[in-house]
């Protein structure tokens, strides 16, 4: 099964659910499904800023596994980080996300 994650809420999602559950499982090839994309809203986008330690691991695993990473463009502009993300990580809105996923559509979209 293919899934895409949307990180929409801000509480403990990046530092806990992503960094301590999803990411280690992906790194150890035991997540259980193919992750085809991750989209980040609001403060969750800070994980995509070049140099972020969790983001660096995520960026590496995404490159190795062909996982799309994308930041919400308005969220990134608002935080003035749109041009500071890891190389090759795009920003966009729903049309960009759907277009980017269209070649590798997920079976499920999980909103966290």
């Amino acid at each position: 099964m293919k899934v895409a994650y949307i990180f929409a809420t801000q509480r403990h999602n990046v530092s806990y659910v992503l960094a301590k559950m999803i990411l280690p499982q992906l790194e150890e090839n035991r997540h259980g499904v193919d992750v085809v994309g991750m989209f980040f809203f609001e403060d969750n986008n800070y994980v995509l800023v070049d140099g972020n330690p969790i983001g660096a691991r995520l960026h590496k695993v995404a490159k190795d596994k062909g996982i799309l990473l994308m930041g919400c463009d308005q969220c990134c502009y608002e935080r003035e980080i749109a041009d500071k993300l890891f190389p090759g990580v795009p920003i966009g809105c729903f049309p960009d996300l759907y277009k980017a996923l269209s070649g590798n559509m997920p079976d499920q979209v999980i909103t966290l």
């Binding site: 463009d73 308005q74 502009y77 003035e80 749109a82 041009d83 795009p90 920003i91 809105c93 049309p95």
Partner: protein, 140 residues
């Protein structure tokens, strides 16, 4: 004399950041068009932009636009709309996409081609304005 700082540290408003331009542009994007309506242009990704102008004495009095709901495109269009009031038609014709990219920092490379669409749409409205001027001159 140095130019005033336009960054958040000095609480200057209006700020020229993509986010702030988008906020203002989002409102302008819903405003009624002005009398001189340029052609609607589109890019390969399906974004569209169309400017409208109010002209008096060969100067732009006001500029509006209607653009696709892309934050970058709206920010670029808003920058143009805020820049040109008061300017003579022949001067603003020189505005290029490169000028726009330079003037609005913080846009990642992938999104900068939106400046080409914004400037092209603005030039289309300028062409309409020049056409209108010539018709007025011939009639008088």
């Amino acid at each position: 004399m140095t130019a005033p700082c336009r960054d958040a540290c000095c609480s200057a408003t209006p700020r020229v950041t993509v986010s702030d331009l988008f906020e203002r542009g989002f409102r302008r994007n819903r405003a009624a068009p002005l009398p001189i309506l340029g052609a609607e242009l589109s890019d390969t990704e399906g974004n569209t932009a169309r400017f409208s102008l109010a002209i008096a004495d060969e100067r732009i009095v006001d500029a509006n636009f209607r653009a696709s709901s892309c934050a970058t495109l709206i920010a670029y269009c808003e920058f143009i709309a805020e820049l040109v009031p008061g300017a003579r038609l022949e001067i603003v014709t020189a505005l290029t996409a490169a000028d726009l990219v330079e003037a609005v920092p913080g846009v990642p490379a992938l999104k900068r081609p939106r400046a080409v669409l914004a400037v092209a749409a603005f030039r289309a409205a300028l062409a309409k304005a020049n056409e209108r001027q010539m018709q007025t001159e011939v009639a008088s």
